[in-house]
């Protein structure tokens, strides 16, 4: 399926649901069906399928509409790193990565709404929290 990268100039990728692999595409007749971002070495996709809102990280999938799912998102302000995790009864994934604001001098993001706007996983966390997609 075709996914777009809203945090990377809206570039398009073709995402293989079975493998979690991507190929960059430059032109397509298809419209995008979700969003994608690569963080550290992980391929992270969000898309709708069969009435579910799927967060796929590499080959693992979670339905964000499932009430048994729990997400965490926060910053380590001293180390300028962000932390994201998702887990249900079967599986857990967590990642620590460079915060979106880490290269901005003299700045600490104290409005949490900024994370949804500036960080892909902050956006994912917000979508899960507000169920707004």
């Amino acid at each position: 399926m075709i996914l777009t990268k809203p945090f990377d100039k809206n570039k398009l990728v073709e995402f293989n649901i079975a493998t979690g692999d991507i190929f960059e595409v430059f032109t397509t007749d298809s419209t995008h069906q979700g969003v994608f971002e690569k963080i550290n070495n992980d391929n992270i996709a969000l898309y709708k399928k069969d009435g579910e809102l799927i967060l796929q990280i590499n080959q693992s999938k979670w339905n964000l509409l499932d009430r048994n799912i729990s997400l965490q998102y926060f910053h380590n302000f001293h180390e300028k790193k962000s932390f994201f995790s998702i887990n249900d009864k079967k599986s857990k994934y967590s990642i620590s990565y460079k915060s979106w604001w880490s290269d901005i001098p003299d700045f600490t993001p104290l409005d949490p709404e900024l994370d949804e706007e500036e960080d892909f996983l902050g956006y994912i966390y917000s979508i899960w929290k507000y169920k707004d997609i």
């Binding site: 998102y73 926060f74 910053h75 003299d106 949490p112 706007e117």
Partner: protein, 204 residues
């Protein structure tokens, strides 16, 4: 690397943000006793009028300056968020930051109402809001160095010096202008409760 020092002379670059607790000037009026929280005149419409559902990540606790504390798993727990919610001075500073955000939010809500009255399409309104939010966000960066870093980041991420484009926001929100508008007008209830700007329905 591109630099945009000259653009720091733009009006938005001259605004002073208050979201750095380390540098922000302390105003004694903001640490009055809990029973009589400060109410700056310019924000009277915002204060104590917002009632929200109790967020899952908070608990009622009299040690909190406004009667609530984050649970340990909350992103706002003091082990993660740089505010001790039992400390009146720190919460006072957090409240100042929050009031500024809400002041900007109220302006955007007024903008939406005005544009709807004028018959502007949802698409047109959403586009205006994205621009307004970018302007607000840039006002948070206080130094030429931080603005240059943000401009460079924006170009790298969005191909737009000012921040996310309308098209990138549409991609995030299901290609729905209404959802872009809703996201632009969002406010985090947990922080609003912790800073005394909102109260849980039926709460203390």
């Amino acid at each position: 690397m591109l630099t945009f020092g000259k653009q720091n002379k733009k009006p938005h670059a001259e605004q002073k943000a208050t979201n750095d607790y380390g540098q922000a000037k302390f105003e004694p009026a903001y640490v009055q006793k809990l029973q009589d929280p400060p109410k700056p005149p310019s924000n009277k419409n915002i204060l104590a009028k917002k009632y929200v559902n109790m967020p899952d990540d908070l608990i009622a606790d009299s040690k909190g300056v406004y009667g609530y504390l984050p649970k340990e798993e909350s992103q706002f727990h003091s082990s993660k968020w740089p505010v001790d919610w039992t400390d009146k001075i720190q919460v006072g500073k957090a409240r100042e930051t929050r009031l500024k955000y809400h002041s900007e939010l109220e302006k955007k809500k007024e903008l939406v109402n005005t544009l709807r009255t004028q018959g502007i399409s949802e698409d047109g309104i959403a586009r205006k809001l994205v621009e307004a939010r970018n302007t607000d966000r840039l006002s948070h960066y206080k130094t030429p160095e931080s603005l240059d870093a943000v401009y460079n980041r924006n170009l790298e991420k969005y191909d737009n010096i000012y921040g996310p484009t309308y098209e990138s926001q549409l991609a995030k929100y299901d290609n729905s202008p209404k959802k872009v508008i809703d996201a632009s007008l969002r406010s985090n209830d947990s922080v609003d409760i912790l800073t005394g700007i909102a109260k849980p329905k039926g709460g203390i």
